[in-house]
């Protein structure tokens, strides 16, 4: 089998070999970009608009009566691939019976925001539609402890319809 030798397949023209036309082409590109709209934004003053489906900070919902939906079943804790959720379930005390739909509730509900990978598995696992991820994405603090969000921080203040995602 004869071997075919291809010579000068990419023979450059004189202008290309002098580098001048390619350099000028590149310089035109950079000059155009000098005046183009910038892709970055000055962050704390301006914020990017995220999709309503963005998976950010969690919220523990209340039902129409203003009761906590969470019954402390620990399904989310089981589903969490990052082990970010810690729940201690307990029986509802008699005097707080009106605040909960059932006798069982989550006494402690902590989410470690540093461990959370915002996958949304807790949301899918929840049989009571109690936990949702919201588009809020700013988690900044100066210690690790402050980034473990407790139940009080996560539970919404007033009741309302379930916030379904689009």
């Amino acid at each position: 089998m004869a071997i075919e030798v291809i010579k000068n397949k990419w023979k450059m023209s004189l202008g290309e070999r002098l580098y001048i036309t390619p350099i000028w082409a590149g310089m035109r590109v950079t000059l155009r970009h000098l005046f183009m709209k910038k892709s970055t934004i000055p962050y704390p003053e301006q914020k990017v608009e995220v999709s309503p489906r963005w998976r950010g900070r969690h919220v523990l919902k209340r039902n129409e009566l203003g009761q906590e939906r969470c019954v402390g079943c620990q399904m989310c804790e089981l589903a969490c691939p990052a082990d970010a959720i810690y729940i201690e379930a307990a029986e509802v005390p008699a005097e707080k019976r009106h605040e909960h739909p059932t006798e069982r509730y989550a006494k402690v509900y902590d989410i470690d925001m540093l461990r959370c990978i915002f996958c949304g598995m807790c949301e899918e696992a929840c049989p009571e539609a109690a936990i949702f991820l919201t588009p809020y994405y700013e988690f900044v603090d100066d210690t690790r402890e402050k980034l473990i969000y407790n139940k009080e921080m996560l539970t919404e203040k007033t009741g309302g319809p379930i916030w379904y995602k689009e």
């Binding site: 350099i23 310089m27 950079t30 970009h33 183009m36 910038k38 934004i41 000055p42």
Partner: protein
């Protein structure tokens, strides 16, 4: 006696103004570089310190002074410490030889806006420009680090090979001007058409490319090619010593730009304006504005090229220097010499 005292006062005042202007320009060149870089990459760039980030150079300066000053073990202490100074001082001295304007008449005294009018001005410039490289060489060698040594070796061989092309390219201007004094070279380019760039386009191009290499700017910034040499010659430097290397790079850029403006773009000559023998204050300041504008234009082109072109490989750099630019410069000098001799219009030119 009184006259001498006034002269000393005048020169000292001018020196202070020139030094602070050059340092200010160099520090703002760092900001300009970062802003232009970010704009070309579709970013916004440093805009936090002061309005539009204008206090950024001050913030950088304070940071340089507050950083820990670290001298690694096993460095050659003396050379390690004096190297940034050696790198920074010659370019600052060079600004003294550049004519920053026509004479200015203040309080009935004629003040030349050039610190020293050396009659062999160009030789002075080239001599001092090549001393600056000793700082880089010493710094890299004294650091006792193989990457630094590589960087400084590259710097010295690169500068030596490109200085040849630069010095040869400028002979074209000398053949036309017939003088080495920078003041006289500027005075000869008194109309727009007489700017030497129109008669020396190839000489100018070679000079420009060689200046890029001499300032170690982007397509030729082999001395500090951070991909393979960490930081090149300043790898081991920290705090203000590193800052001094940076500042010297920018001052070198200013000097190279103003030299190109002086040699090829008519220095402080404002296009389409005749120079009067007794310039008014406004005319003198306009001239200063002209050379500063031309210098800034060249600095912008330097930065524009930096954020456009990738770096040459070391052997490509050497091949370009020795096989293309040097020979091109020689051929251009011969062509210029023939034109000067055989075509009378070429020397008078409009």
């Amino acid at each position: 006696m009184n006259e001498l005292l006034l002269l000393i006062l005048e020169k000292a005042g001018f020196a202070v103004i020139l030094f602070s202007a050059i340092m200010g320009l160099a520090s703002y060149a760092t900001l300009a570089e970062r802003r232009i870089a970010s704009w070309m990459q579709d970013r916004i760039g440093p805009n936090r310190a002061g309005p539009w980030g204008l206090l950024q150079p001050a913030a950088d300066g304070i940071k340089f002074f507050l950083k820990e000053e670290m001298i690694p073990a096993n460095v050659h202490k003396i050379f390690y410490i004096i190297a940034p100074g050696i790198a920074a001082i010659p370019p600052i001295l060079l600004t003294a030889a550049i004519p920053w304007g026509n004479k200015i008449i203040l309080f009935g005294r004629e003040i030349s806006l050039q610190m020293i009018d050396v009659n062999a001005g160009l030789l002075f410039v080239f001599a001092f420009a090549s001393i600056g490289i000793y700082g880089v060489m010493l710094g890299g060698w004294a650091s006792n680090n193989k990457f630094s040594l590589m960087g400084s070796l590259r710097a010295s061989s690169q500068v030596i090979s490109y200085e040849l092309a630069q010095g040869t390219a400028v002979v074209g201007v000398l053949l036309l001007a017939g003088t080495l004094s920078l003041r006289e070279i500027v005075e000869q380019q008194d109309t727009f058409a007489k700017w030497y760039i129109w008669r020396q386009p190839i000489g100018f191009f070679i000079f420009f490319v060689a200046s890029l290499a001499e300032c170690a700017r982007m397509p030729f910034d082999l001395p500090e090619s951070e991909n393979e040499l960490v930081g090149g010659y300043h790898t081991e430097y920290s705090s203000m010593k590193f800052g001094l290397f940076q500042v010297s790079e920018y001052i070198h850029m200013i000097v190279a730009s103003s030299l190109m403006a002086t040699l090829y773009l008519g220095g402080w000559q404002v296009p389409f304006m005749t120079v009067s023998a007794q310039p008014t204050l406004f005319e003198s300041l306009l001239g200063v504005g002209a050379i500063v504008t031309k210098t800034l234009l060249f600095i912008f082109v330097f930065m524009w090229l930096r954020w456009t072109l990738p770096r040459f490989r070391y052997d490509q750099l050497m091949r370009l220097g020795w096989k293309v630019l040097l020979e091109g410069a020689f051929i251009w000098v011969i062509i210029t010499a023939i034109l000067v001799l055989a075509w009378p219009f070429y020397t008078t030119w409009f």
